[in-house]
């Protein structure tokens, strides 16, 4: 009897203790969990995908443990990413073959398993312990993730569509909450789950109540409050005022007189809507629901938020343009070359785009940080760590996969990527400002994250509203 009780406790702990989405102090893997959970079948596919990719690529990586650990950081990530992305591609094809409708609706997010925070972390942590123990850990992380996804879908699908796995469960007369199946609903559902489950889990002693220390109060009293401090320091001199004024005038005159230059004018007419679209109406955080884990974490401090945002802008813009070049000049040309020599058409860009994108990004960021460290020490001290933090990040990969394979031109992809970067910066700084205000007086870091998710939900709702207005 004692044994049975013990096993139940152990099993529930296995799924719920340190569950990265539902209970862990610092959450990971939010992006896909918000985006795909509007249907149970999507959730199941996604959970299975993460499990398959992580375990499979770990099994492949493990024999080369020695090689990877001696290769140095700059090769380690590329090597791991190649293997992971190949597995993601394999899973993508399987999904397309067996569940084509689901695969079509969540294709983008299946691609982004590559940069799912859980995958790479679980693998590189697993390399330090022995094989089966590591697989156990991976199983725990991925099953927890899948479990959270299924829970979320159980809330969202019946409320939104009135169905579970396509079978209708609610009576026709029951009102359908469309909010629940929109991206915005994801935030509310997740925050709701985290808030509702918490007392229950605490009662069942599955999670442990952390010491009630108010993180934000600590930050405020600690003097590490850089934003107001720096605001006091800045004294705007007359010169700066005049320069800013002149700059604004110049900008306005360019915009007004841009019509005089017909080529520029057409360019402007094309790119401004694209930029605005990426920046406000179809933002990467608030409507595509990506890049949320670093957003939640880095928004705890305003200066961290600013620097991280700038780093994101630089990396997304530059790496996307680099990726466009490689995609168009190597992959497409290579495929054409192959097509010349054989009747069987192998389109490299359709199979291997993920691998190439992620490797390019990894190499680019590594190289950039090495160069910065050597030649611009001051810049590196300020920004370098943030650059490296986004080597493997869904925002960067997404700004490539969302634009380039659709056949967009160089300028369009770059401008979109810039827009995505700006959007991320904007959201992270706003969130940081809001969290600084301590709206709800949270008791610990855990609750604070939940509140931040709620705030994001509110922001997403507002932006959806703005998106409804047609300007152009």
């Amino acid at each position: 009897m004692v044994g049975l009780k013990r096993h139940i406790r152990k099993t529930s702990k296995f799924f719920l203790r340190d569950n990265l989405i539902l209970t862990a102090g610092a959450g990971l893997g939010f992006c896909s969990s918000l985006a795909v959970t509007n249907k149970l079948e999507n959730s199941l596919t996604m959970g299975l995908g993460v499990l398959f990719v992580t375990m499979g690529s770990f099994a492949l990586v493990y024999p080369f443990k020695r090689l990877i650990s001696t290769a140095g950081t700059h090769h380690k990530i590329s090597l791991l990413m190649i293997i992971v992305s190949v597995f993601v591609a394999i899973f993508g094809f399987f999904a397309q073959a067996f569940v084509p409708e689901i695969a079509a609706s969540i294709k983008a997010y299946i691609d982004l398993i590559t940069t799912n925070c859980i995958v790479l972390a679980a693998i590189s942590e697993g390399l330090t312990v022995d094989f089966w123990e590591a697989q156990k850990k991976i199983l725990k992380a991925c099953m927890g993730y899948a479990f959270a996804l299924v829970l979320l879908a159980f809330l969202r699908e019946p409320l939104g569509f009135g169905t579970v796995m396509g079978f209708s469960v609610l009576p026709e007369a029951f009102p359908r909450t469309v909010l629940m199946i929109t991206p915005v609903g994801g935030f509310f559902a997740l925050a709701g789950f985290r808030l509702l489950l918490r007392p229950f889990l605490l009662k069942a002693r599955i999670v442990y109540q952390e010491a009630a220390s108010c993180e934000c109060a600590a930050t405020a009293t600690n003097g590490s409050n850089p934003a107001p401090a720096s605001r006091e320091k800045i004294e705007i001199s007359k010169k700066t005022l005049i320069t800013i004024g002149l700059g604004v005038c110049l900008f306005i005159s360019i915009i007004v007189h841009i019509q005089t230059n017909p080529t520029l004018h057409t360019q402007f007419l094309i790119f401004l809507p694209i930029l605005l679209n990426a920046l406000f109406f179809d933002g990467i955080v608030l409507s595509k629901l990506l890049g949320i884990c670093p957003l939640l974490n880095k928004s705890r401090q305003i200066d961290a938020a600013w620097k991280m945002g700038v780093a994101v802008i630089i990396v997304t813009t530059l790496s996307t343009s680099l990726n466009w070049v490689i995609y168009n000049s190597v992959l497409i040309k290579g495929s054409n070359l192959i097509a010349k020599y054989s009747p069987l058409s192998v389109r490299l860009e359709e199979i291997f785009y993920l691998t190439v994108f992620i490797v390019t990004i990894a190499v680019f960021v590594q190289t950039l940080s090495v160069l910065l460290r050597k030649f611009a020490r001051a810049v590196y001290e300020e920004m370098g760590q943030f650059l490296e933090l986004i080597t493997v990040n869904c925002i960067v990969l997404a700004s490539a996969t969302f634009t380039i394979p659709t056949g967009a031109s160089f300028m369009v992809s770059t401008v979109t990527a810039l827009g995505y970067g700006l959007h991320w910066l904007m959201v992270v700084v706003w969130l940081a400002l809001l969290r600084r205000q301590r709206l709800f007086v949270p008791t610990n870091a855990w609750d604070e994250d939940t509140i931040a998710i709620l705030l994001l939900g509110v922001m997403a709702a507002i932006f959806t509203g703005i998106g409804m207005i047609s300007i152009f």
């Binding site: 972390a121 942590e125 312990v129 192959i338 020599y341 069987l344 090495v370 943030f386």
Partner: protein, 545 residues
């Protein structure tokens, strides 16, 4: 057919290789760091020095060297799990790190970095770049210490407060008698215990003057237990079930301040997580250098309480190897009921068979003015459970009187008895294991009376305070000679008082620092000129409170 496959593979390979080549070239040209040294220290005197290349992040370095540092986010400063304790100053938190540390650790860090107080501070390993020689502390879980699995096969209550636990390891382990293992207490149990008894533990910590460490999830706890057995495939541990009163001093060993009756609950309590028969437990080890010396010597075994375990193993070894030297076994207990009756016949038989072996049980009484000579009901019951033959043996050897009413053996403490049984002998070796007060006083007495050399007093230092205590005692011994040479009136009495102050007020309360201060002051008085007698009296007075 195969052409496109080869071609595509070729194109991809060239692309990826070219990219890595770019990365490698840039790294070789600009990114190479200088040679640095990484020192890793841990519990159980673990120390390792690694030669590394500077400029890398600490987390990747440690992970590539095979240390298991948890990092759920993979070094993105998101999860905050990769905290390490650094002994070297490598700069304060970066902006992304600050939210992961609470007020207390922030203050610690500030103190360490700005004022140099404390010996270490915490940072996230993923945000530290190794630019100089770094020394850090890693918890035991992250090292690759081999863990053994074992099952509990038997639990026997050998006295009212001692229990023998038999565990069967999955594979036979290789150990020397006298060594100890570290039993891993399951995390679930630790957590449960903390939930129930947090206030008790806090109180106990305050009483002991230790810092209270709240439960942190994800850490397992280890407790040291000496092996009482000789066989490689069946291990016996003796566990003392500490009194339930939390204000009493704690068990020996283990993590500081986990609460005294911790193990008691683990073994006895009717909780879901306790150590029941058939339970799978894990342990690391074996550790320790507490083993019999090879060359012939006169051995004195001193055991008390749960310290019986390694002594049992050593005695076993002594007789299995058939050593013929003189051996005396002092067993210090409170009353007859505390002597494990299970082992008594064996010891008595050894004594009858070997004229060189002497078994001296010494009873001290359970509390002040308690006379252990008069057996109470429990004592009598314990004794009457013995077989008739063994009872006769005990009576014949003069431990119990004929009516089974009275204890005829030694009473009091072991220290004063030493010169009754032993003569000064350079080949004498003491093997001690038991409560700290007993160990310290016996070593003190032996050093005074028998001229015991410091190297010949062997003990296992579970709490980390015994080794310095013994060091202090020997320093005091040196000074004693000097004081005697000074021709101060009543020198003997003063020395007695000094010893009392030192042992009872300082060493037995784990005040090692103050002990060293005391010795320092004493040395100053002895070596300086002036009114030595008065100065000594003043020193004694200052410690009277």
């Amino acid at each position: 057919m195969l052409t496109p496959l080869f071609l595509s593979a070729g194109i991809l390979a060239i692309l990826v290789l070219a990219l890595s080549l770019v990365c490698e070239i840039v790294f070789q040209l600009f990114g190479r760091g200088e040679k640095r040294k990484l020192t890793i220290v841990s519990d159980d005197e673990f120390k390792k020095e690694l030669n590394i290349e500077g400029g890398e992040r600490l987390l990747t370095l440690l992970q590539s060297k095979g240390f298991n540092i948890p990092a759920a986010c993979g070094g993105m400063a998101t999860c905050g799990q990769c905290k390490v304790k650094l002994h070297t100053d490598v700069g304060s938190y970066t902006a992304v790190e600050t939210p992961h540390f609470d007020m207390r650790s922030r203050e610690n860090t500030k103190k360490f970095l700005e004022e140099g107080i404390g010996d270490s501070y915490e940072r996230l390993a993923c945000q530290v770049r190794v630019e100089k020689d770094v020394s850090l502390y890693l918890p035991k879980d992250s090292l690759h210490v081999k863990k053994y699995a074992a099952r509990v096969v038997k639990k026997i209550l050998i006295t009212s407060d001692k229990m023998e636990i038999w565990i069967k390891p999955a594979k036979p382990i290789d150990y020397k008698p006298g060594q100890y293992i570290q039993l891993m207490l399951p995390e679930d149990f630790v957590e449960e215990h903390y939930k129930k008894y947090e206030s008790h533990i806090k109180k106990a910590c305050e009483n002991l003057g230790k810092e209270f460490i709240p439960y942190t999830p994800g850490s397992s706890m280890y407790r040291g237990y000496s092996l009482a057995s000789y066989e490689p495939d069946l291990l016996k541990l003796i566990v003392r079930l500490a009194p339930v009163d939390p204000t009493k001093t704690g068990d020996r060993g283990g993590a500081p301040c986990i609460g005294p009756n911790f193990v008691h609950h683990y073994i006895l309590e009717q909780s879901v997580w306790n150590c029941f028969l058939g339970e799978k437990i894990r342990f690391t080890g074996p550790y320790g250098h507490f083993s019999l010396k090879k060359e012939p010597h006169t051995a004195v075994f001193v055991a008390g309480g749960a310290g019986l375990a390694p002594i049992l193993a050593l005695l076993e070894q002594w007789f299995i190897e058939g050593r013929k030297d003189t051996a005396i076994f002092f067993l210090g207990e409170r009353r007859l009921q505390d002597i494990p009756m299970m082992y008594l016949p064996k010891w008595l038989k050894w004594q009858t068979m070997n004229s060189n072996f002497k078994f001296v049980p010494v009873l001290s009484g359970a509390f002040r003015d308690d006379d252990p000579a008069i057996l109470n009901e429990i004592d009598k019951k314990c004794f009457s459970d013995l077989a008739e033959e063994d009872k006769q043996l005990a009576k014949k050897q003069g431990y119990i009187n004929e009516q089974e009413q009275q204890w005829k053996g030694e009473k009091g403490f072991i220290g004063p008895l030493l010169n009754k049984y032993l003569a000064t002998d350079p080949d004498i070796v003491f093997y001690l294991c038991g409560p700290a007060p007993m160990t310290v006083t016996v070593i003190d007495a032996a050093a005074n009376v028998l001229n015991l050399q410091k190297d010949n007093a062997l003990f296992d230092d579970f709490t980390g305070t015994l080794t310095p205590s013994v060091d202090i005692l020997y320093q005091k011994l040196e000074l004693k000679e000097k004081i005697l040479a000074l021709n101060i009136p009543d020198a003997g009495k003063i020395i007695e008082k000094l010893t009392f102050t030192l042992v009872v007020q300082l060493l037995l309360r784990d005040k090692i620092e103050e002990g060293y201060n005391f010795i320092g002051k004493l040395r100053n008085i002895v070596e300086a000129s002036g009114q030595k007698g008065k100065d000594l009296a003043a020193l004694l007075d200052s410690y009277k409170k």
